[in-house]
């Protein structure tokens, strides 16, 4: 991490909420192609960190550099297009699968073409299911749509906040292998939060451990997990 191919870097990134430092001076870097697993117990500040990276919340200290540029100088809407995010719950919008996939690009005035939609659906294993009402999807299918919806924006970095935590074991494995394949095929960098160290080893190339809002350890995946 931290080379000339650096995509994102945080510098003493902090957020204080009601006097509690939910993220406490975290400095970390992500290179292009990195898949960084964020590990730590509940309440460690993992989700809070991810929300800061997408600027859904405002840092109270430090900042984030995206491709060398302080992200506070980037329009939030442009930043969020470049830094995609998939949350624990799919949070799909009412309508069809295709309606959801079109949403992100439509915000920039882009109407996704039929072949682009078909490619996205194929990418996440939902070929031919574009017209299905999202209310009728299973949890695993909904999370696939959430992934495809984020990819439709063609982000450079994907933030995944425990994308498999609400799924059963089979669906979890499916989404996990899907994520690995998509990141590889789309040449995407990714920061993924997980409670599951085995999952981190299977998916990630590097890891950081958080506790009480602080960065405790960071490095290559095997170095961190075997330490």
């Amino acid at each position: 991490m931290g080379s000339s191919t650096e995509l994102l870097r945080t510098e003493h990134l902090s957020r204080v909420v009601d006097g509690v430092r939910v993220v406490d001076s975290v400095s970390v870097a992500v290179d292009r192609g990195d898949i960084l697993a964020v590990i730590g117990p509940s309440g460690a500040g993992k989700s809070s960190l991810l929300r800061l990276l997408n600027r859904l919340d405002e840092p109270t200290g430090g900042t984030v550099y995206l491709e060398g540029r302080d992200y506070r100088t980037i329009e939030p809407r442009e930043l969020r297009q470049r830094v995609g995010m998939v949350m624990q719950s799919a949070n799909l919008f009412p309508g069809t699968v295709v309606d959801n996939l079109r949403f992100g690009p439509a915000q920039r005035g882009i109407d996704l073409s039929g072949p682009a939609l078909a490619r996205l659906l194929d990418d996440v294993g939902l070929a031919g299911k574009g017209d299905r009402d999202v209310a009728r999807l299973s949890g695993g299918e909904a999370q696939r749509v959430a992934l495809a919806r984020a990819l439709a924006n063609e982000p450079r970095l994907l933030l995944l906040d425990e994308p498999t935590s609400a799924l059963d074991e089979d669906a979890r494995r499916e989404i996990e292998s899907l994520v690995s394949r998509l990141l590889r095929e789309h040449h995407l960098a990714c920061i993924i939060i997980t409670h599951d160290r085995a999952q981190a080893r299977r998916v990630a190339t590097c890891a950081m451990v958080m506790d009480a809002g602080r960065l405790v350890q960071a490095g290559k995946i095997d170095e961190v997990l075997d330490a």
Binding site: R51, P76, R77, G84, M87, N91, F93, F103, Q107
Partner: protein, 265 residues
């Protein structure tokens, strides 16, 4: 029957109030036989009601004798109180009081001013204040319902709103369905009033006009005029409240400011 005993209208009113209160107390006694105890609430509510309404009546007597411009002050005072009440149930919304007061001022103020200028509302204080108060009260309800519903919708759809923001959507796009729901819900009572006018209920104003000897047909038409003005003011207020509160739930960096306290993991 009572009128044959009292020649003075104030004495007659007092006697009528006593009879009406006795009727309410009799209902309380009936409830008591069924072991339903509402004695304290009934007595307190009756006492409070008579004190409040007599106080208002006394103030109105004083105001009605004053110069015409006092009407504006009274209505402005009503708008301020209405704003306070409307904002009370939407504490999670930043600046709810300012939004409610401004929205009521825009909605009720515009309708009262326009209708007075057109002669639909007589400029006399005896007409302007009662009708103005009805319009302001309805605008207050519309504002309160719109703000409360919007707050509830936002709080229960935080995930969807932030999913939209995370995909690069403008804040107004992410809350559009909840804004529509809030405005629609806030106008339902007024829509129902219009639908059921004369069939399910005969409103107080018309009843009062008929009781005071006005031609029932004119009273009916004027009641429609008032209900239509109330609907217009409520609609304007509701839309104004919705449009003003929308940007207040987001920061300058398009971050949702209204969230349940569940941060940190």
């Amino acid at each position: 029957m009572l009128s044959s005993f009292f020649s003075d209208t104030l004495a007659l009113g007092a006697a009528q109030a006593v009879v009406a209160a006795l009727l309410a107390l009799a209902a309380m006694v009936v409830a008591r036989t069924q072991r339903i105890h509402i004695e304290r609430e009934t007595v307190v509510a009756l006492a409070r009601g008579i004190v409040q309404i007599v106080a208002v009546g006394s103030i109105l007597v004083f105001i009605f004798r004053g110069p015409g411009w006092t009407g504006s002050i009274v209505l402005a005072f009503m708008v301020a109180i209405a704003g306070l009440i409307a904002a009370r149930r939407s504490q999670a919304l930043p600046g709810a009081f300012r939004v409610a007061v401004t929205a009521i001022l825009v909605g009720a103020g515009t309708v009262i001013a326009a209708m007075t200028a057109l002669g639909v509302i007589a400029p006399a204080l005896t007409s302007l204040i009662p009708i103005g108060s009805m319009i302001i009260a309805s605008a207050m309800n519309a504002s309160a319902l719109a703000l409360e519903r919007f707050e509830a919708e936002v709080l229960s759809h935080v995930g969807s709103i932030e999913a939209g923001l995370a995909l690069g959507a403008r804040p107004d796009v992410t809350v559009r369905p909840y804004l529509h729901a809030a405005v629609t819900a806030s106008l339902l009572p007024q829509l129902n009033s219009l639908r059921s006018l004369g069939i399910v209920w005969i409103p107080g104003l018309m009843a009062g006009m008929v009781l005071s000897g006005t031609d029932p047909l004119y009273a009916a038409i004027y009641q429609f005029v008032v209900i239509a003005m109330i609907f217009g003011a409520s609609s304007l207020t509701s839309v104004a409240a919705a449009l003003m509160v929308r940007p207040r739930v987001f920061s300058g960096a398009d971050q949702l400011l209204v969230r349940l306290p569940s941060e940190g993991s």
